[in-house]
Symmetry: C2
Subunit: 429 residues, 2 copies
């Protein structure tokens, strides 16, 4: 049987695992695809560099463009990340009829439409299971298994770095800075942690998930994004005292009328009894709520060389089979073309801690302000007294705009010395 030739772009943490597994599992992969897979070349930035894996030096090249356009190459695996040159290389490959497997969430979320368009033109496959939640089969279930259902909501922990940091803060009482440092020491966070801790990575994944869930096109810049850098040890302790845990969540939710949806990434308090609360360390987990299926959860390793390579190879087998059968997998599905609604229209709940003057009538004034904005209060608790007097309030569901207006109003009240913390509450409606 004529082998399928595979070009690999990138030979870092993921790429080297892809090479190892293609070699170690060659017989299994050949049996599953229906033809052997042969590495046609590996594009790297520098040739001489020491690598985690032995690669035939003949296969290495710094000329990625020539590699992806070679006539004998059937499939291109892109694991270099970033926007350019990844985009140009993928488009070059797809428009020549090759199939592409990529783990590039940033590119898909910034300019997925260009890639999908190139796949259509070339009549090849564009698969990207590894781009969200690493090894966890999540995109294929959304794209295919739930194709006969209506997804209402996707809610998940899709960034391992921030989950590691928040989990440490929760279990040891550490500050954000200390927990980040530990994550960096252990290799869970990069030297420049911005993409993770500011929520950019999670936002790109949220855009991809929302697009698949709602059969619409979503770009990363349409995702409301808040990071975790301002979360204090006090916030975490206060959540803990109330039976909650703080997680960085990606949430994609269809509006009640089904005509639009919200996409957001922000820290939120969830009840400790919620299955996502038990997701520890750098693990990922995603809840999917569909009309007929009900609640589903997917859990596993969201990053790392071998787990990500597992997802890449699963896609490689699928596109390999498709090529042999002369067909391709499901195309991008954007027929619903729903709009992303602004964050203000999102319905959520809020936990707010107020430093207040310790005198009669405070609660009445605060309650009146909530009522003015149509935000009803679920629980209120008074803590401390004198200069330490604090009101801790949890609201019922309201629009984010109403909640924001309420918070702004609270800051204007004379009897409120400070709004000590504000955090959204999810997962227990």
């Amino acid at each position: 049987m004529k082998p399928l030739k595979v070009a690999l772009l990138g030979c870092g943490v993921v790429g080297s695992q892809v090479i190892r597994l293609m070699h170690e599992q060659a017989d299994d992969l050949a049996a599953r695809v229906g033809a052997p897979l042969e590495l046609a070349g590996v594009a790297v930035r520098r040739l001489g560099r020491k690598r985690d894996i032995d690669v035939d030096p003949e296969l290495l090249t710094t000329d990625a463009e020539s590699l992806v356009t070679r006539d004998d190459v059937d499939i291109v695996i892109e694991v270099i990340g970033g926007i350019e040159p990844a985009r140009s290389l993928i488009v070059a490959a797809l428009s020549r009829g090759k199939s592409v497997v990529t783990a590039n969430k940033a590119l898909l979320a910034e300019d997925g439409s260009t890639l999908h368009e190139a796949a259509r033109t070339g009549n090849g496959d564009l698969y990207f299971e590894a781009s969200v939640a690493g090894a966890i089969p999540l995109l294929r279930p959304l794209r295919e298994s739930l194709a006969g259902d209506r997804v209402k909501r996707v809610l998940g922990i899709v960034n391992g770095t921030t989950n590691y940091i928040l989990d440490k803060m929760d279990s040891t009482g550490a500050s954000f800075t200390d927990a980040l440092e530990e994550a960096q020491t252990l290799g869970y966070a990069e030297a420049d942690p911005t993409a993770d801790v500011e929520g950019f990575d999670a936002a790109a994944k949220a855009a991809i998930l929302a697009g698949l869930a709602f059969h619409s096109r979503v770009r990363a810049d349409e995702v409301h994004r808040e990071g975790i850098t301002e979360i204090t040890a006090t916030d975490v302790a206060s959540a803990k005292a109330m039976g909650y845990v703080i997680k960085l969540l990606a949430i994609c939710a269809r509006s009640d009328d089904g005509r639009s949806f919200g996409v957001r990434v922000h820290p939120a308090m969830i009840p400790r009894s919620h299955p996502l609360a038990g997701v520890r360390e750098a693990y990922n987990a995603v809840f999917v709520e569909a009309e007929s299926a009900g609640q589903l959860m997917f859990y596993g390793k969201g990053a790392g060389g071998a787990p990500t390579a597992s997802a890449v190879l699963g896609d490689l087998v699928a596109v390999g089979r498709n090529r042999l059968a002369g067909t391709h997998g499901p195309e991008e599905s954007t027929y619903a073309d729903l709009a992303v609604h602004p964050m203000g229209e999102t319905v959520t709940r809020c936990h707010v801690a107020l430093d207040v003057a310790d005198k009669p009538g405070v609660l009445a004034q605060v309650a009146e302000l909530f009522a003015k904005h149509d935000v009803s209060i679920q629980t209120v608790r008074q803590e401390g007294h004198g200069d330490d007097a604090q009101l801790v309030i949890v609201t019922h569901r309201a629009t984010d705009a109403a909640l924001s207006a309420t918070m702004a109003g609270l800051r204007e009240l004379d009897i409120v010395r400070a709004v000590a913390s504000v955090m959204r509450v999810e997962g227990d409606e």
Copy 2:
């Protein structure tokens, strides 16, 4: 666009939901498939019967065979269950080139090879996501997402009825009989609960999972099967006291040398900290452990009309797309052709409670017997005294044969008045 015509076999709990959703979601389904789906007919046992759903009487027929062989029918959905006439109807449809979506775990596990052979002959699709774990996307991930990985173990709760019963026993202290009665009252268990409580349903699902996980063919009668009818309130309480919970598990595990695998369904104690321990009521959850991906978990509703219909419709969209593209999905993959090893070769652990004589030297004699069979003891605890003296022992890992021989030996010892309970322990190695 010419519609794809769909014949439905069965109009019960699942079938009526399939009809409802095909109607309610007609536009979405058409957009996702690329052509409208049209119900060509519904085969039922009796025409006059009152149904959960309004069906055009013109569509109803008792002549299932004529329906599935009609020239204009493209896809057949089988949700009648059981071996015959389901098998003959599916084979008739497949061998005429139609595609089939089925939820029939019993048939797949008893004679899947006949169905897959007919699919190959007719060049159509045989999809069966709904046959295991209802709405949870599990077979597609195993079949496709993990196609580039090596599955080591699948361990799950795949029967909602028994999970409901065991959960009730655990949370209320109820006896098996009382918990079963409650499950029957609530509709979670059938009047004749044999298929569920004796593990037949779970065994069929285990056979399907093992076949997909290990790329081999597995029949239900190759699955070692033990039910939950002999589990007492005392067993449950004793497990609880030790920080364990009893679940009915389906376990498919590759041997250490990778040349064979075991498939079994039996009750087992798992630590309360294990993610499967938190699976309550009638929910299902399945752990998959693969070499590169690591541990994955899938969780959701394992049964019910709408959840099962969700899985059926997901498959319907997939086979519909395949037909329009003139292709078919992945065929049965049995190339590895691994053997199922006997239960005796399975490596597991054991919890055993012994009623013993309360005199010196008892523990020494018991320990000597374990040693004789090469079973090492992890913990031993003495409870009560006099006529109530009990030794509670948890072993380290050993073959099931060695554990069984040890249990038999214990029954022969003079100082052992009775082996009060024996239960395997899983999930904490």
